[in-house]
């Protein structure tokens, strides 16, 4: 009889525990983060703001790599001009293209200063890129996007124009 009592107490306790867990578990399950409006960006959650900021940061790093490659290209191009000069070929178009290319890189670097300043101070974000001020973070995204986009187009057109002149020269002298 005593064993039966103990068994019944255990079953009752187990039932109470199971019911209490089934009630509590949804509270622990993360509720969806509310998307609230950010000036100039529409409705965004804090996570979306953070991810957008990190993507802008990746874009900035990508531009850094492009500018580094642009300087390497310029150096190799100058060597090619020297070689072609010694061969007695006309390199005037190449020299003009290289001067324009360097000018575009300089312009792009000046346009990056604003983005650099914003990424250095991280307005609206803490050191781990978590949002601490939604409005300020949104404004930072808008400002840095504007800067990065202008740099992007400067680099894009510089590479396109440079490649056009270079391809014409190659078609004339190399791929005959």
């Amino acid at each position: 009889m005593s064993k039966l009592k103990i068994l019944s107490v255990v079953v009752v306790l187990f039932t109470i525990l199971a019911i209490s867990l089934s009630v509590v578990s949804p509270a622990f399950a993360g509720t969806p983060e509310p998307a609230r409006p950010v000036p100039g960006l529409g409705k965004m959650t804090d996570t979306e703001i953070r991810n957008t900021w990190l993507k802008k940061r990746a874009w900035y790093d990508n531009q850094t790599a492009v500018i580094r490659d642009a300087y390497k290209t310029g150096a190799a191009f100058q060597s090619l001009i020297d070689v072609e000069k010694k061969k007695g070929r006309d390199v005037y178009a190449l020299e003009v293209a290289l001067a324009n290319f360097y000018g575009a890189i300089t312009t792009a670097e000046q346009a990056r200063i604003n983005a650099n300043v914003i990424f250095t101070s991280n307005p609206g974000f803490n050191g781990f890129y978590n949002v601490i001020d939604r409005n300020l973070a949104g404004q930072s995204i808008i400002d840095v996007h504007s800067s990065l986009k202008s740099v992007h187009f400067i680099l894009f057109f510089a590479v396109r124009d440079f490649k056009a002149v270079y391809s014409n020269w190659k078609a004339r002298y190399i791929n005959r």
């Binding site: 070689v83 992007h152 680099l155 590479v159």
Partner: protein, 105 residues
């Protein structure tokens, strides 16, 4: 009574174990015999098989023509630079085209 027998059995077992341990501790790690190392002298060169010193001939200045001197810059330099520039331009184009330029990607 049963407990007494059990205790005595355990004591006997312990005594046996300690006896075995004592036997093993007499010569726990028998050492291997010492290796037999051959002690021989290395062969040395004798005067009969030593090579005779050879004096190299005096270097003659290479006859280079003016056309050979003017051959620089070579085509290899040009090809190398063109390959390098092509690769860098392609890489920059790929990086620039792979970017999502929307405000909210």
């Amino acid at each position: 009574m049963k407990n007494l027998m059990l205790v005595s059995a355990v004591l006997v077992a312990l005594a046996l174990l300690s006896a075995c341990q004592n036997d093993q501790s007499a010569n726990p790690y028998p050492t291997l015999p010492l290796p037999q190392v051959r002690s021989e002298k290395l062969p040395t060169a004798t005067p009969t098989n030593t090579p005779e010193p050879v004096t190299p001939d005096a270097l003659q200045p290479a006859a280079t023509t003016a056309s050979q001197l003017q051959a620089w810059p070579t085509l290899d330099d040009e090809s190398y630079l063109i390959l390098q520039i092509d690769a860098l331009l392609d890489k920059m184009e790929r990086e620039l085209n792979s970017v999502d330029t929307r405000l909210k990607p």
